[in-house]
């Protein structure tokens, strides 16, 4: 059981938490801005060429995925890792140093990444835009994290790896493999001695490049937005609720099932493209099969609350996590539906896709990271959470925001998809392309408002966290389960 002698070292976990809040606000602030740009194009010119939609869009996706989410993942890793392995970072000066180096190198790389994207350095591949020198830095950061994981495992007291550890290890391995292969590129300056030293050209051409990119792109979603978030919920939900995980067997099935099935599903991004037909079909079929392990994890979490549903009413952190599981279920049902060929023919290239991405990222990833960091705050600072009421308000405001976001994007996507394929009585196309754009204005506006709600919620979160750190009532000892909070 709990070893009272272990003093866990939360320094780096704390640093990454600050960064998650910072990057959350930055990345989603840009997101709200570009959402409104689509509704009101004059906003494109506010900052000259630097605020054009096309310039900001990759910055939005990268800051949210690799700024906010990775910071959240590492904040939780440097907290959960020690606790489930029953070993403190402070026991190894080496691992402590690696953790700090990991943080600082990551911070510097993230800043360079934003600057380079603003300066138009991009490889164009979605979620893999960074040019080769940044890729090398990313690899070093990843290796440092690997040392941290396996180093801590090496000196662990608890011999059996808890479920969260499975998922952290899988995140590490999955991203390493995907990132390396998708970013294979030849720096042109090194070959010719001419031109821009930062420029590179992809090792793969055309259809091959697309195959590798979406094998990567889809599974970047898997191994950044899904796998490590499951690692979190398997730790924080049982901990916050004081309930044991519902089923070990279900967690086994879900984990190994997810690992095996997820990688096949990348092909669903390439349906009706020029990749081989059998691969498109495989992508489609495996996407549908993917419902099983995804819902397995989500149901395992929801059933963990069995008999304890009154906590949902009493504890806002439980609200965040239960709704996160629910959005995970929604998102992992919606994705497979969009992967069915006939649905994909309608949905692909439309706003339904960003709609799908955002009910996953805002609802599942965002809510889980928010809950995890607020669960850790009382443990970091030995103080109770500053305001339960504020947390409640944040929850409802952000939930409303997500609902506005995805419902407007569903309507926009399906409307546009239907208009693209509409024909008149003679079989001619009924609408010009621009007709199908102007019709979206109200939905783009609504989406922006939904995003704005979520964004305001982030400030409530940041304020609550800051006040918890500075001005909240001090605790005598670390809370075991439910996080204490002031009304």
């Amino acid at each position: 059981m709990q070893n009272p002698a272990i003093e866990y070292d939360y320094t780096v976990a704390r640093w990454f938490s600050y960064l998650a809040i910072l990057f959350g606000i930055l990345g989603m602030g840009i997101g709200v801005w570009i959402a409104f740009e689509l509704a009101f194009p004059e906003l494109n010119y506010v900052g000259g060429e630097y605020t054009l939609f096309s310039r900001l869009r990759p910055i939005h996706t990268n800051v949210v995925a690799y700024g906010f989410t990775l910071s959240g993942i590492w904040a939780t890793w440097y907290y959960v890792g020690q606790r489930v392995l029953k070993v403190s970072l402070a026991e190894s000066k080496f691992l402590q140093g690696v953790a700090k180096l990991h943080f600082w190198l990551y911070f510097v790389t993230a800043l360079l990444a934003v600057i380079s994207l603003l300066a138009r350095y991009t490889t164009s591949k979605e979620y893999a835009q960074f040019e080769w020198p940044l890729d090398i830095l990313v690899v070093i950061i990843w290796v440092l994290w690997g040392i941290s994981i396996f180093g801590l495992i090496g000196i662990r007291r608890e011999k059996t790896l808890y479920i969260s550890m499975w998922y952290y290890i899988a995140t590490f391995l999955g991203v390493a493999m995907l990132y390396l292969f998708n970013n294979m590129e030849v720096p042109t300056y090194l070959v010719t001695g001419m031109g821009d030293p930062l420029h590179s050209v992809s090792m793969y051409a055309g259809t091959n490049d697309a195959m590798v990119q979406w094998w990567f792109g889809h599974n970047a979603v898997a191994f950044v937005f899904t796998v490590p978030i499951i690692a979190m919920i398997y730790y924080y939900l049982p901990k916050e609720s004081g309930q044991p995980v519902y089923s070990y067997k279900l967690s086994l099935l879900s984990f190994w099932g997810l690992m095996f099935v997820y990688l096949w599903a990348g092909g669903h991004h390439l349906i009706y493209s020029t990749v081989p037909d059998w691969m498109q079909t495989m992508g489609s079929i495996f996407s549908v099969i993917l419902i099983l392990p995804s819902w397995g994890s989500a149901l395992n979490m929801l059933l963990t609350m069995k008999g304890e549903w009154h906590q949902l009413k009493e504890n806002p952190l439980i609200k965040f996590m239960v709704l996160a599981s629910t959005f995970y279920m929604l998102s992992t049902l919606e994705g497979p539906i969009q992967s069915i060929k006939s649905v994909n023919a309608l949905a692909h290239f439309t706003d339904w896709i960003p709609g799908h991405v955002h009910d996953g990222t805002l609802g599942w990833v965002g809510f889980m990271i928010i809950a995890a960091i607020m669960h850790m705050a009382p443990r970091f600072f030995k103080r109770e959470i500053y305001s339960k009421k504020l947390l409640e308000m944040q929850f409802w405001l952000q939930t409303t925001g997500i609902v506005l976001y995805f419902s407007s994007m569903w309507i926009a996507g399906i409307t546009q998809g239907m208009m693209w394929r509409a024909v008149d009585q003679y079989g001619n196309l009924a609408y010009s392309f621009i007709d199908t754009v102007t019709v979206l204005h109200p939905y783009y506006t609504l989406r922006g408002i939904g995003g704005l709600f979520y964004f305001i919620g982030l400030f409530m979160w940041a304020y609550n966290f800051y006040k918890t750190m500075k001005a909240s009532r001090e605790l005598e000892k670390e809370p075991a389960f439910a996080s204490p909070m002031a009304a």
């Binding site: 740009e37 194009p41 060429e49 054009l52 939609f53 096309s54 869009r57 350095y121 991009t122 164009s124 011999k159 059996t160 790896l161 499975w166 290890i169 899988a170 391995l173 493999m177 292969f181 030849v186 042109t188 010719t192 001419m194 031109g195 821009d196 420029h199 050209v201 992809s202 090792m203 793969y204 051409a205 055309g206 259809t207 091959n208 490049d209 195959m211 094998w215 086994l252 190994w256 690992m259 997820y262 990688l263 096949w264 009706y272 020029t274 691969m279 495996f286 692909h348 290239f349 439309t350 706003d351 896709i353 960003p354 693209w420 024909v423 001619n428 196309l429 621009i434 754009v437 102007t438």
Partner: protein, 227 residues
């Protein structure tokens, strides 16, 4: 077995890796060699077009425009012949995009002209009322980086055997000459002047004559070649 794996992290990690690597191995590797073959008539990008393609990438045009026409009548009616695998053989990276906030551009060269593009990039609503695309006025003054484009062409020629300076169709003539940087540059300027004149914009013509190719001219050269 699972209980044992959970107590032996090394074998656990190996197990996870094998399970996740499996799909990529089966899906991607078998078709790799076949998929990169060019269709008859496909040619590598000449210097100006390649430079224009780099501008397209730098500005992330692919964030809103696809280059992939799906094999449906409603798509071929709107955009032209559906896309073929071999047409992309010289696309590094591919630029299919994933979202059509604006229309597909894979065959935009068939139905738009240089002056249309110039007007459109200067003020999209002047040619497409209601357009939500922003203007890209900085492309009218930025100078095209021909040297980096040449470095890329030379790299793919050397490393991937992209057939520059070769007779592809057997008519005894070189199809896409590259040559030295000076030779390639000279041809790029000839092409650029022609396009600048087609745009009917004096500022663009003057800039080319003064020895600088505006980025928008390279971009138009690239888009005119998308057929």
């Amino acid at each position: 077995m699972f209980g044992w794996l959970e107590r032996n992290p090394f074998f656990f990690a190996v197990g996870v890796f094998l399970v996740i690597a499996f799909a990529g191995l089966i899906e991607i590797v078998p078709d790799f060699a076949q998929q990169s073959r060019p269709v008859a008539g496909a040619k590598p990008y000449d210097l100006l077009r390649l430079a224009g393609r780099q501008v397209y990438i730098k500005e992330s045009c692919n964030a809103c425009h696809s280059q992939l026409i799906r094999p449906f009548k409603i798509e071929t009616d709107r955009y032209g012949m559906y896309s073929l695998n071999g047409e992309y053989a010289y696309d590094r990276p591919f630029l299919w995009g994933s979202k059509r906030t604006g229309p597909d551009l894979h065959r935009v060269g068939n139905y738009r002209t240089s002056d249309w593009h110039a007007n459109h990039m200067w003020d999209p609503t002047s040619v497409v009322p209601g357009s939500i695309m922003p203007a890209y006025k900085h492309l009218f003054t930025n100078e095209t980086d021909l040297e980096t484009a040449y470095a890329e062409a030379l790299t793919v020629k050397k490393v991937f055997n992209v057939p520059y300076d070769k007779d592809l169709d057997g008519d005894g003539k070189i199809d896409v000459p590259l040559g030295t940087f000076e030779e390639a540059k000279q041809r790029a300027f000839q092409d650029a002047l022609k396009i600048a004149e087609e745009t009917k914009r004096k500022d663009l013509v003057d800039m080319v004559k003064a020895g600088k190719i505006p980025e928008v001219v390279a971009l138009i050269a690239y888009m005119n070649g998308l057929k």
